[in-house]
Structures are given as structure tokens and as C-alpha cells.
Symmetry: C2
Subunit: 263 residues, 2 copies
């Protein structure tokens, strides 16, 4: 371990009261001082959004020797920024975001507030984990996810992570007997096919609820997070905060708008 009392920052996107967060706090608290800074309400689907047009409020919920909990009227990215800038004397040694009620595999990484919190950590060069369980229920059983999250957490606390890289960790819903292990994966190619539920309000106005079905665009590859989850593995995808498509740089340079350059 980096030092005798690591500072562990915990956030999520389901809110400070969510059972998945509470399970995570119980798991990490033997390893150091725990600071929880989490949204005051559920903010699923907020991605990496930050709050610019209204002020943020930090409210202390509870504090004991080892665990301090604040709620914020913002997003997971706001929570991480506020914690780092206003609440700590030293940079956190590790950030854990979750455990999310619902998976964030494949393209869902882009929409996920849980992963927004983790990516904000790696932008700031803090080893960060986003952890999700493939079950949206508030009564979900986190025991298998917690047990194996602890293995990953201990390893990352000890070894760190590559620069500007965090982990997107997803757990399947299965018993410990059925659980196959932890698999390092790539993000599966997939897309949410939106099927908006179009309705009419009592005043005759039309409104739309976002629904949608995930479509996996892979052809049976076994190296993806979707495959891992479907086969009772936990998936770990290393996620980076540099979105450049390096392989495409040459192709784009060859498009004729580069003729527009004077030199």
C-alpha cells in the first residue's frame, strides 16, 4: 500500500443513500479513511456532465472516525471535482464509483454517470474504478460483486493503474458458485436502439419517454465485456480519457480539406 492510511474517495450516480454505494463503503473502509461525496438524488445517464449554470451545495450527512459522507446537488463528476478541490488536504489515493444498480458495459460507458465519476478521477491522475452490477433493483444482492471488487480494489490500491486510464468493471448477476472469474476485455461494439414511448398528456400534448433496447454488434467475439457478462464473468475494460482515434489520423489527413492549409 502507498501509505499507512490511504484516502479513499467514493461516489456513485444512484445517490448517497443507494445500497450499492453502502456495500462499497463497507468493503473499502478497512483499507483507509473513506470520504463519500455522492449526488443527493439519483442522476443515472448524466455521463460526464458538470454543473455550470447553478451553484453547488455540499451537505454533510454523517461523520465518524473512518467514514465521512457528503451529498451534493450535482453529478458524479461534480462530486469528484468538489471533493478534490474543497474537501481534502491530500489527493485521494484511489476513487471508487458505484456499485451502480445496472450494468455499464459496451457503449453504456458513454452515458454512465458512474463512469463519469471514475473518468474524472483518471483525468486527475488518480487510480479510479467504476463498478456496476447487471441488476437495476434497489434490492439487488451485491455480495458476489463486493467479494471480487475487493480483489481488484486491493490490487489497484497497491499497484496503481496506467496513466489517464481507469477501469470499467461490470458484474453479472449470479451466485458465487456460478461466477466464473474476472476477465479483462475490450468495450463491445453495440448501440442502444431507442424506441421512444410516445404518449399524450391530459392536455393533448405529446411527450416521449426514452426506453430502448441494447443491440450487440459483435459476431460472437469472446474478448468483449458483453460476452464476459453473458458468461458469468466480471468484465474489466481499461478506459482512457484521450478520445483521439490515432488509427484514423492519417485517413483524416488525406481528406482534401487539408488543401485548405496555407504554409
Amino acid at each position: 500500500m502507498k501509505n499507512n492510511s490511504p484516502l479513499i474517495l467514493v461516489t456513485n450516480d444512484d445517490g448517497y443513500f443507494a445500497p450499492g454505494l453502502k456495500a462499497l463503503v463497507n468493503m473499502v473502509k478497512p483499507y483507509g479513511k473513506v470520504l463519500v461525496v455522492a449526488p443527493e438524488k439519483g442522476v443515472s445517464g448524466m455521463s460526464h456532465a458538470i454543473t455550470i449554470s447553478q451553484p453547488l451545495r455540499l451537505n454533510l450527512i454523517s461523520k465518524d472516525d473512518n467514514v465521512t459522507i457528503y451529498k451534493v446537488n450535482g453529478t458524479p463528476a461534480d462530486c469528484v471535482k468538489l471533493a478534490i478541490n474543497q474537501l481534502v488536504d491530500k489527493t485521494p489515493d484511489i476513487i471508487v464509483s458505484g456499485i451502480n444498480h445496472g450494468s455499464n458495459s459496451s457503449i453504456s460507458v458513454i452515458y454512465s454517470g458512474t463512469m463519469g465519476g471514475a473518468i474524472e478521477g483518471c483525468i486527475n491522475n488518480i487510480p479510479s474504478l467504476g463498478i456496476s452490477l447487471d441488476n437495476h433493483s434497489m434490492n439487488a444482492d451485491f455480495s458476489v460483486a463486493i467479494k471480487h471488487s475487493e480483489t481488484i480494489f486491493k490490487s489497484v490500491l497497491e499497484n496503481g493503474l496506467p496513466e489517464h486510464t481507469c477501469l470499467n468493471i461490470n458484474f453479472p448477476v449470479c451466485s458465487e458458485n456460478e461466477f466464473k472469474g474476472i476477465k479483462v476485455c475490450r468495450q463491445a461494439r453495440g448501440v442502444w436502439k431507442e424506441e421512444y414511448d410516445k404518449r399524450t398528456d391530459p392536455h393533448g400534448g405529446t411527450y416521449y419517454w426514452l426506453t430502448g433496447q441494447f443491440r450487440n454488434n459483435e459476431n460472437g467475439s469472446t474478448d468483449t465485456d458483453e460476452w464476459a457478462l453473458k458468461n458469468n464473468f466480471a468484465s474489466i475494460v481499461p478506459v482512457k480519457s484521450d478520445f483521439t482515434n490515432y488509427e484514423a489520423l492519417n485517413k483524416i489527413e488525406n481528406l482534401n480539406f487539408t488543401n485548405d492549409t496555407k504554409e
Copy 2:
């Protein structure tokens, strides 16, 4: 061009009324049928957020032979999803998001609603451009940005883009004489160092405004979007929707939690 009358979808994150969007619509309308679906109010910093917990409303603002404009009580990603799923008979040929009032270079790509709209396009395999001008003013002069955006727009409409890749295009604030040209770049390494403005409300409560200063962590490299903008080039970064850090897969596999796997 792909066909005689391309369908051009336009969105932004400053709202359907923003001058940057209007300038963009005027630029693209000679090239096809234009559908604008944009937020009803400014939603800067919303990243790739989607609206799950409240219903969306689509309101027609205006319609003529060539340009139809809708506003939505949501984010740029919501606008693109709703447009594709509810408003069109065929998939748009191209999506343009912007022109944003303010740059979205370096790490700002992650927080940007403008880029959220463009990335949503490339997830759906539609060639997509996010365009920003390094000037937050509502009275910004978009003429140089529009002139050179047209070059890029025409090329992408004709040639398409690599799969699951969109373009993050940023323009400097300069005259046409000072403008150096268009440069294909990588995303500069950088971070916003948040300096929250901590205040006390009239009732004694503490609140925080997000402010912050961008810190460029590059050492003078000339291949980044930040360098390009500072030197009066427009920057183009190809951005991909697969966030996997492929280079890190082996390193992560070598961490000892893989011992946890049964097989």
C-alpha cells in the same frame, strides 16, 4: 455527394436560438434538406447526458421547404436520438453539432454537449462533426469558422468518415488573413484545475460556483489541438466512441486479480 438531396441533421448545446447554430444552418442549407433538433435552452457542460427520469417534448419552431427547426427539453444526445427515432424517414447523411460558443479542445471534449451530439451520431454510424469557436460571446464573429467549416463539411459529406469516429473541430479567434489553415491533431493532454468560488447565501448557507483554469500538460508538442488553436490553425481531432485503452489491456491482465479466475 451521396444522393441528390442529403438529409443534414443539426444540433448544438447552446440552444436552438444561438447565433452559432444559425450561422451553421445558413452554411449547410445549400447542400440538402436541413433538420434542426436542438435544446430549448443552453445546456453547456452536459457531456453525453441523456434524459431518463423525465419525458421529452419536441416542439416545432419553424418549417420551410428546406429547413425545419425543433426544440427539445433535453440534451444534444437526446436531440440526436429523438431526431433519428421519431422525425426522419431515412437516416441522416451527416450530423453537424455547433457552432459552439467556446472551444472544446483537449479534455473539454469529455464535458462538451456539442461533442455529445456528434459522438451520438458516430455511435449510430452517421458521419458527424462537432464544431466550436474559441469565443464564448453571443456576438462572436463566425465568418472564418463558417468558411472553413464548409470545406470540411463538403469533404465529409462526399467521403464519409472512418467507422465509429467523428470529428472534434475547433476554430481560433482570428481574421481570415491571420488564419493559418486546418490541422489534423491529437487531443492535448490537459486538465481543468477547478477553483470553486465559495460563497455564502443571504441565509448563511455555503454554495460553490464552478470556475476553473485549463492547464495544458504538454511540453510544447506541435501535434495537439491546443497548439493548433494557439497558433491560429483550426484543429481537427478524430474522436472515437470506443473508449478501450487497448495498449493497457496486457498491463491490466498482469495485475494479480486475474488469479481470481476459475477455468
